[in-house]
């Protein structure tokens, strides 16, 4: 762990998964701590995770580029604050859309 700590200290990427996450917490390479699950049960299952915010909206446009430009403007003006947030846009054709 001395070597890992030095590696992280030099700005290198370091990831702890599950028990590795707990190790990083104990090593104080990350803040906080893990407690026993609230229900006191071991859990092994699929879960969905989401990072940040996801906003779905429908726009009318003749092609994907126009739709993307409209949404980019919405993000710039309102949906994202560039000081604390960035954004990415994915476009899918709505059901029944003629220019899919």
């Amino acid at each position: 762990m001395d070597a890992v700590r030095a590696f992280a200290g030099a700005g290198n990427p370091l990831i702890g998964i599950c028990n590795g996450f707990q190790v990083l917490l104990e090593a104080e390479l990350l803040p906080g701590a893990m407690l026993r699950n609230r229900a006191l049960k071991y859990r092994c299952e699929h879960i969905h995770v989401r990072v940040g915010k996801s906003i779905r909206l429908v726009v009318e446009a003749n092609d994907e580029d126009t739709a993307r430009a409209q949404v980019a403007e919405m993000c710039d003006r309102l949906l994202a604050n560039p000081v604390i947030e960035d954004f990415s846009i994915s476009v899918v054709a709505a059901e029944g859309c003629r220019n899919a």
């Binding site: 309102l78 949906l79 604050n81 000081v83 604390i84």
Partner: protein
């Protein structure tokens, strides 16, 4: 003192009457200005009070900056008129681009409602002219998103230009550089997370806010 202060009311504002009361208690005049107004009327200064303008759903202050009154507030500020944003009002000013930076969730991810101690860092602002540099003030905070942040260049600039008006003595929310309140380059727009209007009478536990709102009445 007969300064007339316009206190803007957005849907979801909830500290406007406290601000009006405090200003009147200090000898000023105050009137409420509904957010849908396009003119401010004959006011000498503007306060954006605390609350949850338009509900905070997307981001604090994000919708409020599109309220019709904000165009008048921006023009008023650009002309040198004193504008103060308290708590949610501070968030609105950053979203409107009238102040730099942004306010994100508190570092501890907890809503914090408690007295806070502030240190006055400059008296060259419309909200601190009657205070003294280094003076400590006891003024309550009441927020979830009070964690001030900005990029390194902006932080260096606001420090170099003496735009940090207040710092927390004990940082309650993770704000960069303990920043509790800042002003713009022209020093006529000030935003702060603590609520001076809640500390203007002895019965409230502190009168330390009076020196700040008193400064605004003289600005």
């Amino acid at each position: 003192m007969s300064r007339r202060i316009g206190v803007v009311v957005f849907p979801g504002s909830n500290c406007e009457h406290d601000v009006v009361w405090a200003l009147q208690t200090l000898g000023g005049e105050a009137e409420l200005v509904w957010h849908a107004e396009t003119k401010l009327g004959a006011v000498d200064a503007v306060v954006l009070p605390g609350g949850f303008a338009h509900g905070d759903y997307l981001r604090t202050g994000a919708i409020a900056r599109f309220s019709p009154v904000m165009e008048a507030v921006s023009e008023f500020a650009a002309a040198g008129g004193p504008v103060v944003g308290i708590c949610n009002g501070f968030q609105v000013l950053t979203e409107a681009g009238l102040l730099p930076g942004a306010l994100q969730k508190n570092a501890g991810l907890k809503f914090r409602c408690e007295p806070s101690r502030l240190r006055v860092e400059t008296t060259d602002s419309v909200l601190s002219s009657r205070a003294a540099v280094g003076q400590e003030l006891s003024i309550p905070i009441n927020h979830f998103e009070g964690n001030f942040t900005c990029d390194k260049e902006t932080l260096a600039r606001i420090n170099d230009q003496d735009q940090v008006v207040f710092r927390y003595v004990e940082n309650p929310n993770g704000s960069v550089d303990d920043i509790a309140g800042i002003c713009n380059e022209a020093r006529n727009v000030v935003g702060l997370m603590p609520h001076p209007e809640r500390a203007c009478e002895a019965i409230l536990g502190s009168r330390d806010g009076a020196v700040l709102l008193g400064s605004l009445l003289e600005a």
